[in-house]
């Protein structure tokens, strides 16, 4: 497995896309921290970057990579290797290189400007989002044979998590305005890894006071041990479950 993993990582690094991803993240994060007069504002802009760009790059890059290495995968399948090993190596390779890219590109500037728990939390959130969206992309790629269709699905999934889901929440808050829906909204939005990450980081910033009663409910939840355990579990499930299903499909897939 180590050999395949090494090969996958080397292949990805040679690809240069990951290198430009690092450069992009690094320049933007540094720029944002230097541009904003107020450093906590810089953190907020970085948060947008983490919630928007990281999932997008993770999901699209991984999907494309899987399709592009289909010949390589076929080659590996002809060797006496377990399918599980091959698939997991792909997953590890992709997620390790994307996580490293994120940590270098965004993590280091954050640690320079915000070497406290909030900064570390943001890095953790970014790492989780990378993992989750790599895992989701594998699921999308394994279920569709057609490359164009697969990429389309990946983009749609990203759109769903980044935008459509919030639209649904907004719709729900209007529809159920007569009910005490704070807790319900909280439960629903913790189901979306992007929303959960956004709120978890926001509540650590001064801005959390702007979130009023809803924010207070969330703060109470995330302030408790159960709350932290539940939200961490949700994030972990978000990459384990798609990974598991993609693996199951890959094992039985007729290539």
């Amino acid at each position: 497995m180590n050999k395949i993993l090494k090969y996958v990582i080397l292949d990805i690094v040679r690809n240069k896309i990951v290198l430009s991803y690092i450069a992009f993240l690094f320049i933007i994060t540094f720029g944002v921290f230097n541009l904003e007069d107020n450093q906590s504002k810089g953190l907020l802009s970085t948060l947008n970057l983490v919630l928007f760009i990281v999932p997008l790059v993770s999901i699209i890059f991984s999907t494309v990579y899987i399709y592009n290495s289909s010949e390589f995968i076929e080659l590996l399948l002809s060797q006496p290797l377990k399918r599980k090993t091959i698939w997991l190596s792909l997953f590890y390779g992709l997620s390790i290189s994307l996580i490293i890219a994120f940590v270098i590109g965004t993590g280091i500037p954050i640690l320079i400007f915000f070497p406290d728990f909030t900064g570390i939390m943001m890095i953790i959130v970014g790492v989780f989002l990378s993992l989750i969206f790599v895992s989701i992309s594998l699921l999308a790629a394994v279920y569709t044979r057609d490359k164009a269709k697969g990429i389309g699905i990946a983009i749609l999934l990203w759109l769903y998590f980044a935008l459509v889901f919030d639209g649904i929440i907004l719709f729900l808050t209007f529809q159920l305005a007569d009910y005490p829906i704070e807790k319900l909204i909280m439960a629903i939005s913790s189901l979306n890894p992007i929303d959960l990450s956004r709120i978890a980081v926001l509540l650590r910033l001064d801005d959390s006071a702007l979130m009023g009663y809803t924010g207070a409910v969330f703060k109470e939840f995330l302030g408790s041990v159960t709350g932290i355990v539940i939200s961490a579990t949700i994030l972990i499930l978000w990459f384990l479950v798609p990974l598991y299903f993609s693996l199951r499909k890959f094992k039985n897939k007729d290539l």
Partner: protein, 415 residues
């Protein structure tokens, strides 16, 4: 004209002389013949002065029931042992100055205070230090009283019941100036107090409000500092309030306001500085009022205007670095914005007259949504909201058509 003035001066000298002639000065204290303050008061006649020397005094309740001057020398300490109201002033023309008071009693029915004034005129309370008391200075039915340069400090928390630092109720023509209050429920509390001035006070870290104003008409508050109070400042059910040159700083929390205005009319908010508050000014039921030449800086919302407001004129203010400039729950806008400086303004000024050529819309779609629908706040700073706001800025359709500044300034106003 001149002879009259000279005559006046002459008479006043004569008059004041007559006081020194007829009134005496009594010394009381540990090293004096008269050991207790109560004793000194009982032997004093009207308009005498009592000078109390350094020391600790446990006198239960001191009642001042005749016009006297009480002066503490080197801050003699009066202790209420957490059981008694320390000083009760029940006479006109009392001057009480230079004491240190601590540990007044607690009782929710009678509201004991360190110094309480009952139905009196022309009382002056100045230069005292009041520590750990339930209420600090309490005035009921007072007229023409002055509360000056006192320092009132307690260590209240949310859970524990605590009174206000300066509490004025059903009074008229008060002057509250130069006081420092900290850690009480409300720093300065006014209910049914008219024609009064609150000037140059500092109110910090109080559990609820720095200043709390209800049913108090024709008052002014000028050059005060309200900093880091649990809920900021509340001014409610009042006409003709003038608020000039005050500082509202870091009143930050889920429900904190620089000023909470409710049912206010004919009032002026001019030259104030609102910095780092969750909401700079919250307006509900405000009518015919002027908000001018203020600085709104780094607030969550600079202004929150409820639909019940009419004829609020918001002109010549600086809006800098606020997360939201204006929030409102209404669509029909009967308030005027004119000639303000908005740092978020993205228009242009072709003829270089300092006035932007396109109007500025200070309200974002999201800030409207959350006024109507609080739980939607969960979407704060999400990508969808950013996109919604951007598209609304380009093609305004849902935000109130006439809520705009027609003449936004392109340069910061020097305030």
């Amino acid at each position: 004209m001149k002879p009259i003035i000279i005559r006046l001066i002459f008479f006043s000298i004569l008059f004041s002389k007559s006081f020194t002639v007829f009134s005496k000065t009594i010394y009381a204290g540990k090293n004096q013949k008269i050991k207790s303050i109560n004793q000194a008061i009982s032997i004093a006649t009207a308009y005498d002065s009592i000078i109390i020397t350094e020391g600790k005094y446990f006198e239960k309740n001191i009642i001042i029931n005749k016009p006297l001057v009480l002066i503490g020398k080197n801050f003699p300490l009066l202790d209420g042992e957490k059981k008694y109201e320390i000083v009760s002033i029940k006479s006109n023309e009392v001057i009480f100055t230079g004491f240190k008071l601590q540990n007044s009693g607690k009782a929710t029915m009678t509201d004991p205070a360190a110094i309480k004034v009952y139905n009196s005129k022309k009382v002056i309370i100045s230069g005292n230090i009041i520590l750990n008391s339930y209420f600090g200075i309490y005035i009921q039915y007072g007229i023409d009283c002055k509360i000056k340069d006192n320092k009132i400090i307690a260590h209240g928390t949310d859970e524990q019941q605590i009174g206000n630092a300066i509490h004025c109720w059903k009074s008229d023509s008060l002057i509250i100036s130069g006081n420092y209050t900290k850690g009480h429920r409300d720093g300065i509390y006014f209910e049914f107090v008219t024609n009064s001035v609150i000037w140059r006070n500092i109110s910090k870290k109080n559990v609820r409000y720095g200043l709390h104003f209800m049913f108090s008409h024709n008052d002014s508050y000028i050059s005060n500092v309200f900093e880091n109070n649990g809920a900021g400042v509340a001014v409610m059910f009042t006409n003709n309030v003038k608020m000039y040159n005050n500082f509202f700083i870091y009143n930050w929390g889920d429900a904190a306001y620089g000023i909470l205005l409710k049912e206010i009319s004919d009032s002026y908010i001019v030259g104030n500085h609102f910095s780092s508050n969750t909401v700079g000014i919250y307006l509900e039921g405000v009518s015919r009022s002027v908000i001018e030449k203020n600085i709104f800086e780094k607030n969550g919302w600079a202004l929150k205007i409820q639909a019940s407001c009419m004829e609020a004129n918001i002109n010549f203010n600086n809006f800098i670095g606020n997360t939201f400039d204006v929030g409102t729950n209404g669509t029909l806008v009967m308030n005027n914005f004119n000639s303000n400086y908005w740092d978020k303004y993205e228009g242009y000024d072709l003829n270089r007259n300092g006035i932007g050529d396109v109007p500025y819309r200070p309200i974002s779609l999201f800030s409207m949504i959350i006024e109507k629908n609080q739980p939607a706040l969960i979407l704060f700073r999400s990508i969808m909201v950013t996109l919604l706001d951007k598209s609304e800025k380009l093609i305004p359709s849902l935000t109130p058509e006439n809520l705009k500044d027609e003449k936004p300034l392109t340069r910061k106003i020097n305030l």
